[in-house]
Subunit: 199 residues, 2 copies
């Protein structure tokens, strides 16, 4: 099955139960800060305050602000990855591959309001934009859906071209600078996927 | 005609003849440096040396290294713009709109070897990535070709989605990190355009 071929990102040795709970608590606090006040509001101090722990706890867990941001990005990518690998259809296995591809793009667009700024911060560093493990997982997922849908052609490049308009920097530009709605973006994504995959 | 509706970027009052020649000489020297030794080699000193003028001349003309880089980007965008607005078909007016769109992507991909690094430097600054005047010209051009080709749908978003895989950062990643050839990228672009525009 396709899902067995996909590498999982960020698989680490199991954490002690309280450490895992602690990490989750801090990441939830950071995500909440991003959604409420934007990515610039995510300082080690603010996260500690929001989570009701000491600043030292945040530093011990993530090392630095950029360590925290990477953990936040990884956390968000891992949730999406879980959803498309093991979650319910249409995003997860069991649905028609074209419907799964449409659901994948919708899921990325829908999360941009909260996770977009974190993703954008990562995308605008030339070193991490296309080299993150999550990138390879996304490309592999889209390639396998295109193959399963019986689409002919250069699957790898077609996957790169389909993922390009889902980049958070572009999606945020379309929403904030051009005033487009999430619904409009989702409809245009569905239209693009249907055009690209039709026989 | 469509071409009359397109705003032209960087239209400035005419320069004195020798000033224009001087500017051209310096920009050609800078472009040559990029193609020979990469974007990091473009220093004010190196450009002065290559063009056979004093360093002060380069500073008087461009102010700073980033002023020079912006001028280089503007120069390259303006040449492409001239070609698709007034040049010979299939890039310029007169050809079938789908063929013009294919030629437009090919032209962007073909210039990435020389101009890609300069474009990438601009793209990786979140402030300039989508707000440069050249961006609006590109979107307007693609929208008008889609319309002329009789494509139904959300032309503006479809144009954004088609331009996304042509971004220099992605194209350079595909060529340098993934080892894809320019020919392969051009073929995949043509395939994408034909899929998107077919009735």
């Amino acid at each position: 099955m396709t899902r067995l071929l996909l590498p999982q990102i960020g698989v680490e040795p199991p954490e002690r139960c309280d450490a895992a709970r602690n990490r989750r608590l801090l990441l939830d606090a950071a995500a909440l800060l991003v959604s409420e006040r934007g990515v610039d509001a995510v300082t080690m101090d603010a996260v500690a305050c929001k989570a009701g722990v000491g600043k030292g706890t945040v530093f011990r867990r993530f090392g630095s602000r950029s360590g925290l941001m990477l953990a936040l990005l990884d956390h968000s990518e891992r949730e999406l990855q879980q959803a498309f690998m093991f979650g319910p259809p249409p995003l997860g296995p069991g649905a028609d591959p074209v419907e799964r591809l449409i659901a994948y793009g919708r899921a990325r667009i829908a999360t941009v309001e909260v996770e977009g700024e974190v993703r954008r911060a990562a995308e605008n560093s030339p070193g991490t934009r296309f080299s993150a493990p999550a990138r390879a997982v996304s490309v592999t997922h889209v390639v396998s859906l295109l193959r399963e849908a019986g689409v002919e052609g250069d699957h790898e490049l077609l996957a790169c071209s389909l993922l390009a308009p889902l980049e958070a920097t572009l999606v945020l530009h379309e929403i904030r600078d051009l005033g487009m709605s999430t619904e409009r973006l989702e409809a245009a994504w569905e239209d693009l996927v249907r055009r690209v995959t039709r026989a």
